[in-house]
Symmetry: C2
Subunit: 115 residues, 2 copies
Amino acid sequence: MAPTEKTDLLQGTLDMLILKIVALGPVHGYGISQRIRQISKEVLNVQQGSLYPALHRLEKRGWLSAEWGDSENGREAKFYKLSAKGRRQLAQEEASWNRLSEAVELILGAAQQEA
Amino acid sequence: MAPTEKTDLLQGTLDMLILKIVALGPVHGYGISQRIRQISKEVLNVQQGSLYPALHRLEKRGWLSAEWGDSENGREAKFYKLSAKGRRQLAQEEASWNRLSEAVELILGAAQQEA
DNA sequence: CCGCAACCATAGATTATCTATGCATAGAAA
DNA sequence: TTTCTATGCATAGATAATCTATGGTTGCGG
């Protein structure tokens, strides 16, 4: 019930995470969620109900392109590739993340100060 | 218009930031937003429409207690103090933040790997 | 044949934050 | 004295992100 426990990821980072995974090489949707989980050591768990709408959103914005193909398990899967526009977007989002997370760290690192 | 630019803070961190600031000593609402802005070097800017509802939420959950008093500028202001429960909550949220932000860093740090 | 993992997808609920607005007062500036 | 700005609290409504809950298909191991 505690708000921090029911959140599987930090709001606002999903697009960046997806773009980053796709930047590592073409991959299908299901594989993206697997890699995010694996690389994050089981900490980040993207729900399918978050993943697929996000992928469609990113594609619609021209940051990803999609193409049907065969997965490693011999099944139909939609593979995504990063576009040049997507690469620029990823860079921007990384910069923004760094800026914001550093700012949060500043607050968390703030020590008691006497009046 | 880009989603990352219109965000003044990372979603989900506001409660933690407020609790942390209040943990530094009793402070009124307006002062909380000022300190967040100052300590974060003008990066984080909490809107009043986000701040006050958040304060009421935190108070209702028993993490903060409020009391009217006089501000440094001789004006009526509501001062907030952290409760024991709030202190525990803050610790939890910090732990959660660390876990999640480290996970994000793992993804961002992931390098190309050959198949 | 049955069940599960792999794959895609959408609808609706929940919730956080922002924008826009409103009000009141102290002090500086004009 | 009037006016503007900063200080201070507050709410309503819009926006948007993510989750929960579904639903479906197919390949493979038991």
